[in-house]
């Protein structure tokens, strides 16, 4: 791995355990050798490279923080470092891994029955089975408590009706963790259901026209009288805290991961600026370019330290406070997006093409800015923690 020494100006490497560095370097090697050479083509074509899924599984990334069921049982820090490397390649594969691990395997592991765990987790760890997470609806994104999807009890089944929108991996998933209100009760009646591919009335269709996360499948799920056996309901959780705890879990990884995109943009822009000449000298020699690069590095150092602290807190206490996660997601995704945009500018006209990575990362990060809680929603979570006042309603 050829990390420029300057990227780790603050020797954050020294804060990592030897096995954490080893894990990061193994994933980095995979990304350099097998993912970066193909991802540009997939982004251009709007496809996801299914062929890398078994390789990511071999590396042991899916469900890595879980214990048993063929999962690695590693620290959250190690897992987050792995995600950072995937995102340095492209957010598409990192999103795949986050959804598979944190949004699908984690709730089955945490809230599922023994039978559900045995049925899904080993296959998902091996990448043989793919999962997705259905919370967002066409009319309810930031405010999932308003969801319209309903599950009606009928004998020993539930009958699902409704639709879910913007679902990563939806059209390739073998199982969807779908959140629905049972009958017409309020948000406290929300339950999670394992809806299986091929169940009559369940259709997943791909969403086209995305300018972001093009190397990832995003789908709409629709449910028309889908009969789901009651044993497919997650027994261990009820209410909004089900989906929200999944998200809290995934956001920790995402906050760390986006620094990978930032590093890719910074290192690329630095190399480009050193070789590209204008007015007879490398553009890296101009004060304005140096200010851009200095700002990028400064935010990378801060963001990585913040993310590392968050992951360590989670390893220490087993969980993190939502405000801690929100502050990190809010900061890191925003700075990564800014870094990608500024890196893009350093490439001049070359930067608007997909020959160079910054515009791809910048476009991807627009989604990351919006999903897993929009930037604004995280502001409100931090704001509420500071003031004790809930500003969600206005």
């Amino acid at each position: 791995m050829s990390r420029a020494a300057i990227t780790d100006l603050y020797r954050i490497d020294d804060l990592l355990e030897p096995e954490e560095r080893a894990a990061r370097d193994a994933v980095a090697q995979f990304v350099d050798r097998e993912y970066l050479p193909i991802v540009g083509k997939h982004f251009r074509n709007g496809t996801f490279p299914m062929e890398v899924v078994p390789r990511v599984a071999e590396l042991g990334i899916f469900g890595a923080p879980l214990k048993g069921y063929g999962c690695a049982g590693m620290s959250n820090t190690m897992y987050a470092l792995a995600l950072q490397e995937l995102e340095r390649g492209d957010s598409g594969l990192r999103s795949f891994a986050s959804v598979q691990s944190s949004l699908c395997m984690w709730p089955i592991y945490t809230f599922g029955s023994d039978e559900q765990k045995e049925r899904w987790l080993p296959g998902m760890a091996r990448g043989k089975l793919i999962g997705c997470f259905g919370l967002t609806e066409p009319d309810y994104g930031s405010d999932p408590g308003g969801m319209l999807t309903r599950a009606r009890r009928d004998g020993d089944s539930y009958v699902l009706n409704g639709s879910k929108m913007w679902i990563t991996n939806g059209s390739i998933a073998d199982v969807a963790v779908v959140w629905a209100k049972v009958d017409d009760e309020g948000p406290q009646s929300i339950r999670g259901f394992l809806v299986e591919k091929g169940m009559p009335g369940f259709v997943a269709s791909e969403i086209h026209g995305k300018f972001s996360l093009r190397a990832s499948f995003t789908s709409e799920l629709s449910f028309a009288d889908v009969r789901v056996p009651a044993k497919n309901m997650l027994p261990g959780v009820q209410g909004l805290k089900g989906p929200l705890s999944c998200l809290n879990n995934a956001r920790m990884g995402i906050s760390f991961a986006v620094m990978g995109a930032a590093v890719a943009c910074f290192e690329g822009a630095r190399d480009y600026a050193l070789t590209r000449k204008a007015f007879g000298r490398p553009i890296a020699g101009f004060q304005l370019t140096q200010e851009k690069l200095a700002d990028m590095l400064q935010e990378i150092v801060k963001g990585q330290l913040l993310a590392l602290r968050l992951a360590r807190l989670k390893d220490l206490h087993g969980k993190v406070d939502p405000a801690q996660v929100s502050l990190c997601k809010r900061n890191n995704v925003k700075v990564a997006l800014d870094i990608a945009r500024v890196a893009r500018s350093i490439y001049g006209a070359n930067g608007v093409t997909d020959e160079y990575p910054p515009i791809r990362h910048a476009l991807n990060l627009e989604s990351v800015y919006t999903y897993e809680g929009t930037h604004e929603v995280h502001t409100l979570i931090v704001g509420k923690a500071i003031t004790g006042l809930d500003a969600f309603g206005g």
Binding site: E19, A26, E58, L59, G60, A72, M78
Partner: protein, 265 residues
């Protein structure tokens, strides 16, 4: 089948190497290190053989405590045990081979696989000394007939083939214009070339497991080996910097320059 492999710590080939002020060593500050790539191929080959012919894969590295990183890497890939020869200070190829000889005599493997050379000193000697002093057969520069894109490679089929009853191994060597096949009576020494295999990644669960695998410490003194070097480095120098190329306006100028300046036509 028990196999012993080496896991030398070398400078990452992608780091920028600078000669130090004294001109006898390199500037270590800020350098990254990794397992010698030829040794990594040796570990991979041993693991593939062990998958078919079960037995221990023992990885050996010589150096200060920092070589634990390379030993852990071999263990994370799947080796079962590590031997660390704790040694600070200079060491020449004969010293390395003497130490390995002692470890081999203790561990009694059926096969020793080493890199054909380490990418820092580029000497290509250790495997040969070792085979000679053990009195074992050797096959250097092991390669294979399949390409690195073949199905066999994807299925991790070993290039070194163990004979019936595990009494011999067949090794393919790339030589000018063809392949040279050797059959060695075991125990034997094999050194790896670049195209023998594509090493696996250390998986994250493998890295976790490696933490609890045995790592045994030895010293030159404990092994009774005199490692005083017979060879010393007297001077290191950087290759001359490449001069920038020039652009010529047309073919005629090019031909003239090739004749008068480069004198190649």
């Amino acid at each position: 089948m028990k196999i012993l492999v080496t896991a030398k710590r070398v400078e990452d080939p992608e780091s920028k190497i600078k000669v130090d002020a004294a001109g006898k060593g390199i500037v270590k500050d800020g350098l990254k290190y990794k397992i010698n790539p030829f040794d990594e191929i040796a570990v991979e080959e041993a693991l593939r053989l062990a998958a078919k012919h079960p037995g221990d894969v023992v990885a050996v590295s010589i150096g200060g405590k920092e070589v634990h990183e390379q030993l852990r890497h071999a263990l994370a890939m799947g080796a079962t045990k590590a031997v660390w020869v704790n040694h600070e200070g200079p060491l020449d190829q004969m010293g390395v081979a003497r130490l390995l000889q002692k470890i081999v005599e203790k561990e009694k493997p059926d096969l020793v696989i080493l890199g054909k050379q380490s990418i820092d000193d580029d000497q290509n000697q250790v495997g040969q000394y070792l085979a000679e002093w053990l009195g074992w057969g050797q096959a250097t520069f092991a390669s294979k007939a399949d390409s690195l894109d073949s199905e066999n490679e994807k299925n991790k089929v070993p290039g070194v083939i163990v004979g019936d009853g595990a009494k011999t191994v067949d090794v393919i060597r790339e030589v000018d214009g063809g392949l040279n096949r050797l059959r060695l009576t075991l125990p034997a020494v094999v050194t790896t070339d670049l195209r023998l295999n594509q090493p696996r990644y250390a998986s994250l669960p493998g890295i976790m497991k490696a933490k609890s695998k045995p790592l045994e410490e030895q010293t030159a003194q404990g092994l009774g080996v005199d490692v005083a070097p017979k060879i010393t480095v007297t001077k290191l120098s950087m290759p001359p910097a490449r001069k920038a190329g020039i652009k010529v306006p047309d073919v005629a100028t090019l031909v003239t320059k090739l004749k008068t300046e480069a004198k190649v036509v």
